[in-house]
Subunit: 669 residues, 2 copies
Amino acid sequence: MVANVDVNPDLKKERLKCNFNIEEVTFILDGGKDKTLQRRKIEDIVLNSGVSIDPIPEECLSLKERYDNAVRKSVLFGKLIKNELLEISGLEGFGNSALKRTSDAFFKEVSPFMLHLGMFVPTIIGQCTAEQQSKWLPLALNLKIIGAYAQTELGHGTFIRGLETTATYDPDKEEFVLNSPTLTSSKWWAGGLGNTANHCIVIAQLYTKGQCHGTHPFIVQIRDLETHEPLPGVKVGDIGLRMGFNTADNGFLRFNNYRIPRENMMMKNAKVLKDGTYVKVARHAKLTYGTMVFVRVTMVAEVANNLAKAVTIAVRFSAVRRQSQPKPDEPEPQIIDYLTQQHKLFICISTAHALHITGLWLWRTFETVLSNMKSGNTDSLPELHALSSCLKAVSTSDAAAYIEQCRYACGGHGYMLSSNLPLLYSYVSATRIYEGDYTVLLLQTARFLVKAWEQAENGNPLTPTVSYLAAAVAKQRMTWNDSAEGMICSFEAIAAGKISACNENIRRHMKSGMCFEDAWQLTTVRLVAAAVSHCRAMICRTYWSEIKRLTATSSNSVKIVMEQLASLYLIYWALEMSGDLLRYTNINETDLNRLQQRYEELLALLRNNAVGLVDAFDFRDEILHSTLGAYDGQIYERLMAEAEKSPLNDMPVQSSFQKYIKPLMRGKL
Amino acid sequence: MVANVDVNPDLKKERLKCNFNIEEVTFILDGGKDKTLQRRKIEDIVLNSGVSIDPIPEECLSLKERYDNAVRKSVLFGKLIKNELLEISGLEGFGNSALKRTSDAFFKEVSPFMLHLGMFVPTIIGQCTAEQQSKWLPLALNLKIIGAYAQTELGHGTFIRGLETTATYDPDKEEFVLNSPTLTSSKWWAGGLGNTANHCIVIAQLYTKGQCHGTHPFIVQIRDLETHEPLPGVKVGDIGLRMGFNTADNGFLRFNNYRIPRENMMMKNAKVLKDGTYVKVARHAKLTYGTMVFVRVTMVAEVANNLAKAVTIAVRFSAVRRQSQPKPDEPEPQIIDYLTQQHKLFICISTAHALHITGLWLWRTFETVLSNMKSGNTDSLPELHALSSCLKAVSTSDAAAYIEQCRYACGGHGYMLSSNLPLLYSYVSATRIYEGDYTVLLLQTARFLVKAWEQAENGNPLTPTVSYLAAAVAKQRMTWNDSAEGMICSFEAIAAGKISACNENIRRHMKSGMCFEDAWQLTTVRLVAAAVSHCRAMICRTYWSEIKRLTATSSNSVKIVMEQLASLYLIYWALEMSGDLLRYTNINETDLNRLQQRYEELLALLRNNAVGLVDAFDFRDEILHSTLGAYDGQIYERLMAEAEKSPLNDMPVQSSFQKYIKPLMRGKL
């Protein structure tokens, strides 16, 4: 933590107003005091090393210089965390977010090596046999090889069955022959692939003995380890500029009769024998989704973390920024004193908590399912899949929207890159798209919900997250009450009501002769809405029950403020969904007015703890990268200092004056 | 229009499905056939000149190179449009958007000269006496001087009275002395100010004879015309990187006892005589808002134009992109066939029409008010101010949100800069902030609405846009009916209901002893919502009545499709506001289900005309700048071609391999 010197006086006063122990909340969010200390230890090792990370803002550089700089920083960071890295032994190790969090000090966007650790290594763990792992894992973890993960193609994204890249087995040479038969089959997007990786996991349609067995993963060397030249038969390069991730080295990849050894097929779930016989290992078909679900699970906490950064920036800024003069002869108020500003910001603190806590809970659920699976029990996998799908969709979408809300709340200064808000947005906005598109994922959850509804109708048992449907099938219109439990039950009633209406709509169409898929298609707009309502109810229930559990032994003041935040979340969503409440419960006008009143009262109650609450996220300035969000609140000094680093200020007259502007003024063009 | 060769076959088929005359719609949107032809003439002059605009994507360049390149292109563009430029004689001339539209071919972001034309020249016209105009206007229009407009300061934005820069009159030398007394008084943001402009309009607190007379505009020379060096007493530079506008040369400016002649005060509305006497010219105080209102008025059509670009890109992409396989053995459908995709996109076409048409109508209203003002009648100014405030807020916010919706609808490829969707978003997202913050502007409209409500209560006459309040004061709960007129009246009833509730809330607080300003403050969250509802109702009414008027003599098929689009807009918003409808009208569950049904039917009806509708926006490929949105629909070929232009593909191995990656792999770090 930065020393409390030279802190902006308004911010200093805010900290004195805070009525709870900030560190206590930090411990809760980190998952315990030991976790906080461990995280801070890693941050100290890396950030107290005295290395200068970016002398001038990297966005001022040309694309080539930015890539070069990103590789330089990756190597620097790799050296600093080498010991921590070697301790990772299983998928679970990647749940530790302290390393990722610390890496944010080095990479405002993304390191070209991120997917080496984030996808290449986890896929080796998840998809290789033990024998294969013993070969590839040491190479990868010791950085003897650098990998990427190439699944998406130019013409194919979420729909994996549509991939066109082929891997055809040649039993004579015991090799697979890789091909990109069309332009649209070009691999596209893989991070680190453009210029960095020398190996790559390639998802391709497996052909053997003249038959296609669907998509399978292969480990493919793409560049010479000595010269780094692409190997013959491989065409690889950069895909061009993105909205964000411009240091992630996203690449494309094409194959022309490129051969790899048979052993490079990742054979945990299926094998091709020497003679070309295809053998499916007897496991649950859904097991191949393991890595995918894992990635989605980690994304929930990850976007919560980025939203926490954004709201830290916006709240500190709002405590320092003063604007307007509602009353003559009084000073301009801190903008955090405006109700409209509180309305914009405090829900972002709540949401960061809600998503973070739901993310931790989801991670534990994932660990349980994983350990069940190891002992052969895959019963809970469909529910985890449905759960992680909608949570990935809603958490990334919420986080992106609220980061923008934080940015807008900082007015023009939020538009400065040095606020870091634009980059946080472009980063999180991408998470809404990759690893499964928002709409597609919600429709996957909707399929699960529609099935669950039918089970409920038939009186069959339901899995925990949809158990509320049983009550809905039986019951009349929900009776509104504004306790937390009452609100959560109402949100579940909304979800149940929408799922039921979707079912009715599907049946109505089918009665008129339509097939199920066409009827489903015509219901998709409502199905997406139903899945969102289900997800919202689930987040509300998880957040509320977990916060009770996590603060059971907390001090009274911490209990109070955490409960206020969670109540704010529930009431905010009740008001947002007032139309749904009017349709699916017996809530009335008086209830709604009372909710609005309580909402505004909660804003007032949270006002004096707002800075304390964002301090509790415990982001070091190096990780926050923000002129507006630094701990000292010296927003104007930092904006000006950052501006002075711009290469456009290196001399009083830029060369374009003599070249273009002067001739223009002289009319000599 | 690009010739119809080598068009993607799916897109070709789409065009054959279109059942109306595309050009007829183009004429309507342009405001008549002559306007379309005039626009195309300008586009031909500029874009058929054969100049190569950007050999490699400008975002690959370093910041310095990008600025240099932007100046180069500005000069190039200036030469091409010189003749058209010199025809501009009054504020009204700037209403012609053809020049701005054509300039988009040169600047994906913004030219450093934009505010010379967009603010410097209009302010001279609006704030200078005739004598002053005769001096400055020829200099500015002939580009003998290049100007910026510096109002916002590091510590002061929307609240203009809070500006700190001082202009103190010295009667001995008949000069004003400019100072920036604090860090927060540094001018900040002005486009073109950093390195390009040599003159600047500066808004400063005017002091004379020891008294402050508030903010006034001054014309200030800041750089030497020969050397371009900043003049002594002036510190000027670049403010650093932004989320967008990175070629706009936004700058900061500080003064240290910098002197300008008395005559450089812009004296149309107030004067300082030689002896220092301050003279207010007897005019309506609100007249100084002229330029501000003008800029806001033009912004509505401008953001509509950008939304039209985004939806052109997304609809063409959706006709070419195929994904998933809902039915086995059938080909992957065009994604435009998915109901969820239609739900995302068609409202964007409607909104582009709604905002464009409302923008044109607002422009005509502005012209009327302007001509009334010239004859001394300023009665309609407060209404125009309220109107332009909420329309600026809502149109920029809607356009930004729907551009993001278009981007998300294009999945990962929408995240590529070469789609142009990210830049469209960062551009329009800024318009939500500058020239008056979203929340602040809506609260200004809300003040007008609350006053109007009181007038209605007292039975006083109401101005046209709030005349619906009279009915609301008298009436009972609105009776729902789902005709267009019925829906619009219901939206007005919602606005009236919310305004009335705000008034009640303010009165309740005041009854308990609060002053008006505190009571207002505590109502602001609801006041913002009320102003949005008012604005939505107004857009709906304007769009519906104008589309009827504009298509009165159109062919039947054009009438039908334009009415379908407008109906879609009304029904979409009725569904979005279902909670409000349930609260403020007697709509019931059956009505809502019927609306949902009609909405989905309209999507189906518009499906086959979608490509025709975006073709009717008539954007040349050079202006659209999009790999995904080009007329030929060759999305994959264009993505790959654009990638190959990346400097990161200029050689097979980047230098960072030898420098960093190889040593890392050898463990030699």
